[in-house]
Symmetry: C2
Subunit: 122 residues, 2 copies
DNA sequence: TGACAACATCCGGTTATCCGGTTATTAGAT
DNA sequence: ATCTAATAACCGGATAACCGGATGTTGTCA
């Protein structure tokens, strides 16, 4: 049952939980977005995203300079059911709603910038 | 979302996963049974069970010299849904079926012994 | 009371996880 | 070619998780 334990281990970190939540609310996000919304270092964001990537939770898609990540779990798989349960649990949490709002604002601000491609990740 | 992360952390250990599985297949088990079926040390069994106890996953019930544990999650709670999903995932795993068989044999052997209360945990 | 069985907790050692800071890579722009 | 932004990989260090063996506790029985 090692595999199953690892499945849960993926979800046993607050940062990764938040990443899942963001990715469930927007089908594709770049590292830059996640850094900004969660307020974490680049190193931390990238590390966790690569972790999820290597376990098959997400796929990456390069778009010029950015790396975009999106959830990729087979429909009906244990991972899929797990995520569905997770979204059910988190939806009722104010903290999760706040995060969702921050994501919206972040993306809106990004869209407004004249150069829509800018990330301002200083 | 610390609380949610900890929920998953409970399940992020193979030994605890097996314990959950056993407890889902038999409503009450003593430390001794779990030691025997999983083939782990007493210290290990007790430590994980106390861990689950303190997080509210199980309740304890002393019966003379033994300590019995049973699952105790509120129906409909996230924990409950999590366990239901877990049983769904594990049911199809041969490894889990084998464990279940070992549990049956262990309990049968225990029942056969003249002194039904004996544990022979040496 | 003493002996014993089941269990909990403590002790230390090992390993895994997580982190920030740094360096390396990649792709686009000049 | 060179410069820069975005990202990935690497490197200690701190912390937490996990373990077996030893010790303490509790309840039973003689």
């Amino acid at each position: 049952m090692k595999k199953e334990a690892q499945l849960f281990k993926s979800l046993a970190d607050e940062t990764r939980l938040k990443m899942f939540w963001l990715l469930m609310n927007r089908d594709e996000l770049c590292v830059c977005d996640i850094m900004g919304v969660l307020g974490i270092t680049q190193s931390k964001a990238s590390r966790h995203l690569r972790y999820l990537f290597h376990l098959g939770w997400v796929t990456d898609r390069r778009e010029g300079v950015w790396m975009n990540y999106r959830l990729s779990v087979a429909p009906g798989s244990p991972e899929d059911k797990q995520l569905k349960l997770l979204v059910e649990i988190l939806s009722s949490r104010p903290e999760a709603q706040a995060l969702k709002d921050r994501l919206e604002h972040w993306l809106a601000a990004k869209g407004q910038s004249k150069d829509a491609a800018a990330c301002q990740c200083s």
